[in-house]
Symmetry: D2
Subunit: 344 residues, 4 copies
């Protein structure tokens, strides 16, 4: 049984970590921190946890946290940076669900996140925690940068096509739809039920922070810089991301795209290539650590359409973090994650 | 590992049984039947089950089913009746999630369900599967009549008050709100998203089939017939029942209602009496086999208000059925049911 | 064409007033105020108003407002009080959609609203703007206290029964379900889509500010103080109130309740008694200034159940305010309010 | 006052026509037909219409309908075809909200709609009822083919770019999101609240019937055949279409796209070009006959993104049909359509 700490446990990724770890056979949450909720029982804040965790929020403190084997950061960007460095220095393994270590080009990071990066060595040390790409490096990693939700769904959709240099890397489009939980638990007018339900809207068309992260991952797969148009949309539901990805075939001959996708993900426990012709629904992965994908070539034309769905809070955040933990500590990769999506 | 059969697995209680049993340590689904979907893989019908079950629907057949240790019926009323009798005759234990054996007075049953009851011996044999009342009888039962969803939430709310003869048994009101999944997966216009979302309505005010069932249970607790006004409402959400129960104190002196409720359910793994002053949310039990209750006495007056929430598909159906199975077979009562509600 | 001013136009009742008045044949909004949004165009805040209003928010100012024929206050309690007095002093007619003048017993008001009432003369002068009760007084009123949303739906449900002294005034229960817009446009965590959708909960069971208001109205109808248990519930939808009202017949003989309700509201343009046996849906009044009611006596028993639905923002707020304005200024009572509910 | 007939009035476009025409100053619905609901009052089927229409469904009959000045067909494809021809023969003007006359190439029509077209002359005679393109021809039309919902939103988004030959006509993508009402009122499992809410999915990626219609319209604008990838998505809301359209600039120099869009639609009462940088929400047009558009060029790159929203039942169906009627009969184009969207 390893000891787990969680920094910033009051948000949706925090409670989701608690849900997943409540039934993990080899990990136990020992510390959970929140400055604003010090002393509050997690079960008072999240009644679904009543009977599952007997924890109270404490003020974050490196001393206490360094007694853990692994510490998850479920914090806004800029928070994990320095404390992660301290903890790694003390031999604690760190999994950051935030954005601090996702982008390797720190100048680019600073542009998009509008602050200085204070831990360049850590950023270099960090392993980008997408197991479908970096499983080997994750095993020995001291510091994991957990991918963002849009980047997870979108990279898994494009990877097979780019790795096989099948599509034009200069003409990528990702039209993404996210449930409202992606915006977190902060009290923002735009996320009120009365504002966000019964409506659909795009946002951040001029530029969203997940754009450079997705491009970084796709460029590695394509082995060259890519051009991507990324349009996120706010969708009237709690959980789920649907990424609709468009690529243009370089050579519009016959390709067995279905076989290529199935092969690419054959050994992946958490990527499910659906049968040809399928349209995955986000609800099929609600609460589950799973990405379901289907690949289409409408009218046999030269445009490929990949549909990719995840639960933004699970495979797009807390579930992927636990998957990383499992790999790091040599547990079964599926330990604690063998969850059936809640349907209906 | 016991062998499980499910008759009528295409509805919402069927898929929910499959979700819960996918991770049960001591039970494995071997047979699942559906006349209309013969040969179809359950995972094709419910993609959330992909990777969790490798089953196909077969035509219901007593021979095959009698190879099981226990058979669940997730069928409309009238379907389980005769086949259940046959299976019990062959030594198979049966758990009926439908209404065939819930009401002991078969004349009353016939009035409400508009058909003859063909199995009076079975009806007599059947144990009403509310563990919080009948745990001992459930242990040895051959045939379980699983309570309805409204009856589960409403009985658990009223029981402590009636068992202690604290409230007037002639003045009970249950104002209940149910998510749309209570209406099942049938294609009915009224249950379309465009008809049922963004709206609230009562239905069946003149009389709902759960009324005699609730009255039967409350009468047993009160040790006399009760009068109940029961008004169900269709609520724009998928899962959840909120039962708001009103009783009139016989003696409006000071009562420690909170302590009484806590004591009544102290040993119950699946009833959670919330702290005084709480307002349970249905979402706190979404996907979980739990009933959360709080008791109020507004303005110190003589009216007691009990708030009780369940997930209609879990503690109100499939979860309670598995709880009964666990009790019947001597498993840990919580085996396979230690699920944290999905929040948000 | 009368000149209209609106104080506090940024909330949901404010935008709803603008929607309704955009097409009013005899009234034009000339001034709309908001301290926080000074200079902002209303159409920038509420894009549905683009092309319908060419107004900007200004800082509230008695001088400017006194150029109006009527001023609506769509403000939190405590705000309208003093400015309303000043405006009435200058001959401007005032319609307060807030709670400042709803309760005649100012001591009671102070208890529930936790502040002193500074305008006792105004409170005495104010007419409670429920046209179905006070139409005559409204005609000449200088100051209208627009009823709350729960009080509108609940009083209209109980009035015929209490006016005819048919039910026991000591045993009234109102189990009310409200859409989330009732909580306003403030950024509160509990009203986020991720917190309030897919869930049902009661709140304020210990006491809600609409309780004394409803009791005041019912007491006037019953000509004696009444006892009421009032339990509001937060329902996962934007608009709508469903009030389920329970009364106990004093004399359980045969009553033609349907005829009594139809007669009571025969001349009311905005109360629709549904055919016997109906279950009104809140969506049937979405966006419309209408209260639909049906009356039931389940199983012929002594409990009467009245179902009453309104759109909380229309008949429960802005629409009722415009209805009052129409009566005050001698317009057709339905002017600008002949709106068909949006269905689906 | 012209006399209006509606064939097929039980679906969502039918009830929406009734809502809009209830307040039309120059048109009155005299006949409404439905084979299945003969004799039923429209207000019994749609309680929002109580007090607004006193109509009953009758069996469709050319004799009766020919007494009308204009007849709307709100029927599935294949139904309007022959009866429309008969009515036009009798001098009645016909507005078909279905698909029978939308596509000029009848061979193509037959491929997509899997039936023969029996009225080639009528198809030739029919005017495609997109006023922003065909206003002049609509004035004298005997037969209008009302555009589909996706085609309306998508054509209005692409028109300015294609008419100015600014984008590559071989690289068009329309990623469209529709509310569930687009699927109509038929009782289909996939449209149940429990199936369609809290989920997002694409459908018909292999080919949707609106594809050839959109391509036809865009080809006319571009004056050459176009290539379009069209992916519709089912979105968990009742009303609304959000069309996210992608085009590639032929010449990636500086273009004042904002000015171009504003100019193109300057005189259009029902197209609203939003300020630069805007993200239109579907809810801003809920219930209103309006298309709101914004145009973006993310990161100054060569991809143009146009966001276009309509209410699929209004500007995408019944509202556009009434707009056509207004033009045909020389009424104010906005008569009966000056509706403010319902927000929140």
């Amino acid at each position: 049984m390893i000891k787990v700490g969680i920094v910033g446990g009051t948000g949706y990724t925090g409670v989701e970590l608690l849900r997943l770890l409540a039934n993990h056979p080899q990990a136990k949450v020992e510390v959970i921190t929140s400055r604003s909720e010090e002393g509050v029982s997690v079960a008072d804040m999240y009644p679904n946890l009543r009977g599952h965790h007997d924890l109270r929020f404490t003020v974050p403190d490196v001393e206490t946290l360094s007694g853990c084997d692994v510490v998850f950061f479920a914090t806004p960007h800029g928070v994990a940076m320095n404390m992660a460095a301290e903890l790694v220095g003390k031999g604690v393994r760190v999994i950051d669900l935030g954005a601090d270590f996702r982008i390797k080009d720190l100048e680019l990071w600073s542009q998009w996140y509008a602050m200085e990066h204070t831990q360049p060595e850590m950023a270099e040390l960090a392993v980008y925690g997408l197991p479908e790409v970096n499983r080997e490096q994750i095993k020995d990693a001291q510091l994991i940068a957990c991918p963002g939700c849009y980047p997870t769904a979108t990279q898994l959709a494009f990877l097979p096509l780019l790795e096989n240099t099948l599509i034009d890397h200069r003409r990528l489009i990702a039209d993404c739809k996210s449930g409202v939980s992606g915006a977190g638990r902060g009290a923002k007018v735009g996320m009120l039920l009365c504002e966000a339900s019964e409506s659909m809207m795009a946002y951040g068309v001029h530029g969203h922070r997940h754009l450079p992260e997705i491009k970084q991952g796709l460029a590695l797969a394509a082995e060259r810089p890519v051009h991507l148009t990324f349009v996120p949309h706010l969708t009237p539901m709690i959980r789920g991301i649907h990424s609709t990805c468009y690529g243009v075939l370089k050579d519009p001959v016959d390709h067995d795209l279905q076989a290529m996708f199935e092969e690419r993900y054959a050994d992946e426990p958490f990527v499910d290539v659906m049968p040809a012709g399928s349209h995955p629904q986000t609800r099929s992965v609600k609460g589950a650590n799973m990405c379901r994908i289907s690949v289409h070539r409408p009218q046999g034309d030269d445009t490929v359409v990949v549909l990719s769905v995840i639960d933004n809070l699970v495979k797009g955040a807390a579930g992927q973090a636990v998957q990383n933990m499992n790999i790091m500590f040599g547990f079964e990769e599926t330990a604690g994650l063998n969850i059936v999506g809640l349907m209906p």
